[in-house]
């Protein structure tokens, strides 16, 4: 299991304004939580990382499954933790926030381990397409036993065949969490290529769609109109009845 050393500084400021200031200064806001922190009565510890240091540590990390030896400024002992979530900017792909989970080396944890495809499937050689259904498998093990990847041999797979989670041979001490019947890889037959439509056909298709929507719209309006008319008639009838009742009550008073 890969292990990296990262240093962090505790931060006192909270909120998006201070987080933005940190990001502009080349730092990343982060939080650290775990069982030992909760025991002390704290929800989470807020931290600040150096962006370059974290990017370097994450580069080449096997699916983010690395043990982090975290030394927080002002604390005597380093903490052992793992990356729980790394939030990136959707367009720039820069790291915006990190969630760290403190772990106990004697307790098992559930982690997502990436799947590594080994060999070339027999079905692919025949023209099939290999479809990766799930890229990660959730595994429960001790922090020191987390594998960097799970090797899946696909050489025997033909077109129409698939490989499931239960087919993976795991090392002793590892246990699959969740559905063992989930598909990992399947070899599918290539889809027949559609003949491209001409511009005239496409135009006709568009025109047809608008005709249909127009027809539906008119039908809907007509329906609404009928309903409204019926409602109006009922309302009128109600109004006509009311004065009669009023007259009756007046007469009875006299």
């Amino acid at each position: 299991m890969e292990q990296i050393n990262i240093s962090a500084v505790q931060r006192t400021e909270k909120g998006k304004c201070s987080a933005g200031r940190l990001r502009r200064a080349g730092k990343i806001p982060a939080v650290l939580y775990g069982p030992s922190i909760i025991e002390k009565g704290k929800g989470a510890i807020t931290l600040t990382f150096n962006c370059k240091e974290v990017e370097k540590a994450l580069h080449g990390a096997a699916g983010g499954n690395v043990l982090v030896n975290l030394s927080v400024a002002g604390e005597a002992k380093p903490r052992m933790c793992m990356f729980k979530a790394v939030t990136r900017h959707p367009l720039k792909a820069t790291i915006e926030h990190i969630d760290l989970l403190e772990i106990l080396m004697t307790h098992t944890i559930a982690v997502d381990v990436p799947v590594h495809i080994v060999g070339k499937a027999a079905g692919v050689a025949l023209g099939g397409i290999m479809q990766l259904e799930s890229r990660k498998v959730k595994i429960e093990c001790l922090p020191t036993q987390i594998p960097s990847s799970l090797d899946v041999d696909v050489t025997a797979l033909n077109i129409g065949q698939s490989l499931h989670v239960r087919d993976i041979t795991l090392a002793p001490g590892l246990k699959v969490v969740g559905d063992t019947a989930a598909t990992i890889v399947s070899i599918v037959a290539p889809a027949a290529e559609e003949a491209p439509k001409t511009a005239e056909e496409a135009q006709a298709e568009l025109a047809k769609s608008f005709e249909e929507t127009e027809k539906e719209g008119k039908e809907g309006e007509a329906k609404e109109g009928k309903e409204a008319k019926a409602a109006g008639k009922e309302a009128k009838a109600g109004k006509e009845e009311k004065p009669v009742k009023a007259e009756k009550t007046e007469k009875s008073k006299k």
């Binding site: 699916g63 397409i129 290539p190 439509k197 496409a202 568009l206 608008f210 929507t213 127009e214």
Partner: protein, 137 residues
């Protein structure tokens, strides 16, 4: 071409395209993708033209996912018509695209093939795009 089967209202207002796309902004199916870097409207013809360009290039090698659907009707007034007398008739279907939206995804091909296929596709699209690939973290 991608067209809605049924719509509740025939005409829509144009709307605004503020901010970044938060949904559909990450690769979900394939290893490679084409991501929009600016906002705009993508017509059903553009979506289809780009898809055909990619499919022809990769032939029968890989798989393509179209991550956008044109569900917004766009109206136009006929040429040489005076202004007024109501909104025009629906002429096209478009997909509203915000920056960071993934338009297409691809799998089952090498990175070079995917790059070239997306290069051909982005010439059919009116929105600036960029090539992205799946990272480990």
């Amino acid at each position: 071409m991608l067209i809605p089967k049924k719509v509740k209202f025939r005409k829509q207002q144009r709307g605004k395209r503020r901010g970044l796309a938060t949904r559909g902004a990450a690769l979900s199916f394939g290893n490679y993708g084409l991501q929009a870097t600016e906002c705009g409207w993508l017509s059903t013809r553009e979506i289809e033209a780009a898809r055909v360009a990619m499919t022809r290039f990769i032939k029968r090698g890989g798989k393509i996912w179209v991550r956008v659907f044109p569900d917004k009707p766009v109206t136009k007034k006929p040429a040489e018509t005076r202004m007024g007398s109501g909104k025009g008739s629906p002429e096209d279907w478009v997909a509203v695209i915000k920056p960071a939206r993934i338009l297409y995804e691809m799998e089952g091909v090498t990175e070079d093939v995917a790059k070239e296929a997306f290069r051909l596709a982005k010439h059919k699209i009116s929105i600036p795009t960029k090539f992205i690939k799946r990272d480990t973290v």
